[in-house]
């Protein structure tokens, strides 16, 4: 029966090619636009570390003076050197890492490569196991190397290819800012997106090329970049970065169960009170411990334009669907005579309804296929855009399935009303009016 309906649908659609094309194109455009924007939104609002993110937290304390104090406002987005170091050394979490971004001058040994600047991250040893960073060669540096301000470096696979031809470079020397560093590890391809650990930098940018211990970076005067927020008389200059009242570091902890999360929260409040007693903090304790995903949410990482585009595309799809409903309704009602004959010949309402739904389903299928093609074109266009997230805009198999279900589902839904209205006709009346 379904085969017969399918055949009927094709005949009917062929009878008025322009109209069929119009319906298919409208649905395809709506689906294409919606899927493009939904895919981008999905990619951008994804979990950067699936499976691990739920154990990662971003502790915040408020070390500022009373100037500008408003109750209920969030603490600063970063920590100062003193607080960062205190929390790092306290080791109250399962793992913890203190970090900041920067750029370092790399001086290749080869004379044919000019010195260049690479994005760098200055951090502590737990960074790598805590964020499950995959290593191609070697290992992270150790905690003792952190303490000893060792001249060690972990580089990205990209930099390893550029400088060492992709070979195992562990043990090799890398010169940066006229200082010799020993390569201890090479990170394999890894691109958490968003790059959650430092949202001051390009949130969807690629991985830094150079990782050195934070203590070493300070020792050899590597410049830090990102945001520096000062209060009181803080000037935010590099020389006084350890002592000035400024926040410029990110601190992350790993807490493996909810008991530890609660304990850590208490610890942060206790720490704030203690610092207030010591006279370092002035504000009432304001400790926060958002989880990774909460932190991304608070910072509105997904660009507003991307959300706006998604809404716009969904609105467009809605208009296209309303358009299709109208056209299908007109089409089905025009065939009242034919349907009347079928009904008079014994087809039940339900059968006529099924026939018409198959017809709208065919349009949905065609619209879905074209829409999918358009979504691929749309994503290709997105990738041509200048934004840093552009390169991430790829269709996943999950999204592919969603596209298809959305296209067919939406059109079937759109077909429901016209099909129902069309099978309400009274056969006798239709036959008479002929």
């Amino acid at each position: 029966m379904l085969g017969y309906y399918f055949d009927l649908a094709l005949r009917s659609l062929r009878r008025n090619k322009m109209l069929t094309a119009l319906m298919v194109v409208a649905i395809a455009l709506g689906i294409g636009a919606s899927m493009t924007t939904l895919t981008v939104l999905h990619v951008l609002s994804g979990d950067p570390l699936p499976g691990t993110s739920s154990t990662l937290f971003y502790p915040q304390v408020d070390p500022r003076d009373m100037d500008g104090y408003e109750e209920g406002k969030r603490p600063p987005e970063q920590v100062s050197w003193v607080d960062g170091m205190n929390l790092l050394r306290a080791k109250r979490a399962d793992r913890q890492a203190l970090m900041t971004g920067g750029a370092v001058p790399v001086q290749p040994a080869q004379s044919n490569i000019d010195p260049f600047f690479s994005d760098a991250r200055y951090t502590s040893s737990d960074f790598f196991p805590m964020f499950k960073v995959p290593f191609l060669y070697g290992r992270p540096w150790s905690e003792s190397e952190d303490g000893a301000k060792a001249r060690v470096v972990v580089i990205s696979r990209t930099l390893n290819e550029k400088l060492f031809g992709g070979k195992d470079s562990v043990g090799q020397t890398l010169r940066m800012k006229d200082t010799a560093f020993q390569v201890v590890g090479v990170i394999d391809l890894w691109r958490p997106s968003p790059r959650f650990y430092d949202l001051n930098m390009d949130s969807y940018g690629s991985l830094e090329d150079v990782f050195v211990p934070l203590s070493t970076a300070r020792d050899v005067h590597f410049e830090h970049s990102g945001s520096t927020d000062c209060w009181g008389t803080g000037g935010g200059d590099e020389e006084h970065a350890e002592t000035s009242p400024c926040v410029w570091l990110q601190f992350w902890v790993q807490l493996n169960d909810s008991g530890k999360v609660a304990a850590y929260r208490d610890y942060l409040v206790h720490y704030s009170q203690e610092q207030k007693t010591l006279g370092r903090f002035q504000r009432p304790p304001n400790a926060q411990l958002p989880s990774l995903m909460e932190w991304l949410d608070i910072n509105k990482v997904v660009p507003g334009d991307v959300r706006l585009q998604t809404w716009l595309a969904l609105g467009f799809l809605l208009v296209c669907l309303v358009n299709t409903v109208g056209l299908m309704l007109a089409k089905f009602l025009r065939r009242s005579g034919e349907l009347g004959v079928r009904r008079a010949l014994g087809a039940s309402k339900r059968e006529v309804f099924a026939q018409l739904l198959v017809e709208s389903g065919v349009i949905g299928l065609a619209g879905g296929i074209f829409g999918l093609l358009l979504a691929f074109v749309g994503l290709w266009l997105v990738r041509k855009q200048p934004s840093s997230y552009a390169a991430l805009a790829h269709m996943s198999s999950g999204m592919l399935l969603v596209t298809f279900l959305l296209a067919v589902g939406a059109t079937l839904l759109a077909g429901l009303l016209p099909a129902w209205r069309a099978c309400q006709i009274t056969p006798a009346l239709q036959l008479k009016s002929q």
């Binding site: 109209l19 119009l22 409208a26 455009l29 636009a33 009373m66 100037d67 500008g68 104090y69 408003e70 750029a103 001058p105 001086q107 000019d114 010195p115 260049f116 600047f117 800012k177 006229d178 005067h221 970049s225 000062c230 209060w231 009181g232 008389t233 803080g234 000037g235 935010g236 200059d237 020389e239 006084h240 000035s244 507003g304 334009d305 706006l308 585009q309 716009l312 595309a313 609105g315 467009f316 809605l318 208009v319 296209c320 309303v322 358009n323 409903v325 109208g326 056209l327 309704l329 007109a330 089409k331 009602l333 025009r334 855009q385 200048p386 934004s387 009303l417 209205r421 002929q434």
Partner: protein
């Protein structure tokens, strides 16, 4: 034209009429808001910077090793750059318009104030306003004897020594108006982390580098601090020479001190382009969606109109046989479309207003100006009339003899 027969016909085709109205209403609501956003973006793209964009170059370098004699090197660089043919003025600065890094500070009118009045950006560097080409509208430019060196200022700040901190500043007109509405700004004082600065000059406009809030884009102050950040701006005599001068200047800098890397070398006009590229992309996308929406709606009206005409062929024939002229029939379908469009536009306006309210809350967009309503209505009426013209003319062409034929 009598609209009562039209209304009674529409009442018999409630569902179809409702769908046309819904489509027009949705299109109207989305297009009004999209065009509004497009206008906002275009306005942003054309934001005034207050500087001589066509003649400015930006060069940023970074030392490879640790350097000690930054000030002497800066003097050497500046002297050499000044000698490059075509260069009118050079300055060693901390930031440039349309750059992506900026130094900002909270400004108060009274040191005892708990919350800052506004957040302003600070341009540093001797000769910075003269090189940028800002327009002084009151007071004076900063003089050489106002200036202090950055490292000394930093040490003075660390030692809380107010004497080692500059005490004059030049601010923009918009910042002055925000701080002292309707009053002259010259001679007034502002406070930044407890230090007082007297306003000695006001420039017409000087945009801040990273703009996160468009309404604060012009809150800018220039402080008399000399910096040696390896970052230079150059103004050339003739825009035609820009590329050549940039190349010569970079070569000169590399020649003086090869132990550094050129991080950036740009024409300021290109930096402006890059700065607004997302806005341009968004504008293009919105225009595309608006056109697509209007086309889909128009085609929908054509399609439905054609069906209606085909369905009512006999009725039309009867009317023609009873004496209705071609233009009567044409007018009938045009009026019918006008009625549907009017209801659709009415609903669409309410929807447009609702969407705008949502956007105001979630995207900090301003209120939709009233002018959008009549313009949007006119646009949709026109599109509706154009779309229905084809089917209506086909209807008008139905000969009266159709009435006499059965089926």
């Amino acid at each position: 034209m009598d609209i009562l027969p039209i209304l009674s016909t529409l009442r018999r085709h409630k569902t179809t009429a409702f769908l046309v109205i819904a489509e027009i209403a949705l299109t109207c609501a989305i297009v009004c808001n999209a065009v509004f956003i497009i206008n906002q973006r275009i306005e942003r793209i054309h934001m005034q910077s207050g500087v001589d964009e066509q003649r400015l170059l930006h060069i940023a370098l970074a030392n490879i090793g640790v350097t000690k004699d930054d000030k002497a090197r800066r003097a050497e660089d500046l002297a050499a750059l000044q000698q490059v043919p075509g260069v009118i003025s050079v300055a060693s600065v901390n930031q440039v318009p349309f750059g992506n890094s900026s130094s900002n500070g909270s400004i108060k009118l009274d040191p005892k104030q708990r919350l800052a009045t506004l957040n302003a950006t600070d341009y540093f560097g001797e000769n910075v306003t003269q090189t940028l080409g800002t327009q002084l509208i009151a007071g004076r430019e900063l003089h050489a004897d106002d200036y202090m060196d950055m490292d000394q200022v930093v040490n003075a700040a660390a030692a809380k020594d107010a004497k080692g901190i500059p005490h004059v500043t030049v601010i923009t007109q918009k910042m002055a108006e925000r701080l002292w509405p309707g009053q002259p700004a010259l001679g007034k004082q502002i406070y930044m982390s407890d230090y007082a600065f007297t306003v000695v000059g006001v420039v017409k406009e000087l945009i801040r580098p990273s703009i996160w809030d468009d309404s604060a884009a012009s809150y800018t102050m220039v402080l008399p601090v000399r910096v040696a950040n390896n970052e230079y701006i150059l103004r050339v005599d003739d825009p035609k020479n820009r590329e050549r001068v940039l190349k010569a200047a970079v070569a000169k800098l590399k020649e003086i001190n090869p132990h550094r890397v050129v991080l950036k070398q740009h024409l300021l006009s290109n930096m402006r382009e890059d700065f607004f590229q997302n806005d341009r992309a968004m504008t293009g996308l919105l225009v595309g969606v608006c056109v697509a929406l209007l086309v889909v709606t128009a085609l929908g009206i054509v399609g439905l109109g054609s069906f209606w005409v085909a369905q009512r062929r006999r009725q039309i024939g009867v009317r023609r046989a009873l004496g209705a002229t071609r233009s009567n029939i044409l007018r009938y379908f045009q009026t019918e479309n006008f009625l549907l469009a009017t209801i659709g536009i009415g609903v669409g306006m309410v929807l447009a207003y609702g969407i705008n309210l949502l956007l105001m809350v979630h995207y900090e967009l301003p209120r939709l100006p009233a002018i959008y309503f009549p313009v949007g209505a006119l646009l949709l009426w026109t599109i509706g009339q154009l779309a229905v013209l084809g089917p209506a003319m086909r209807a008008a062409a139905v000969p009266p003899v159709v009435a006499t034929r059965s089926v």
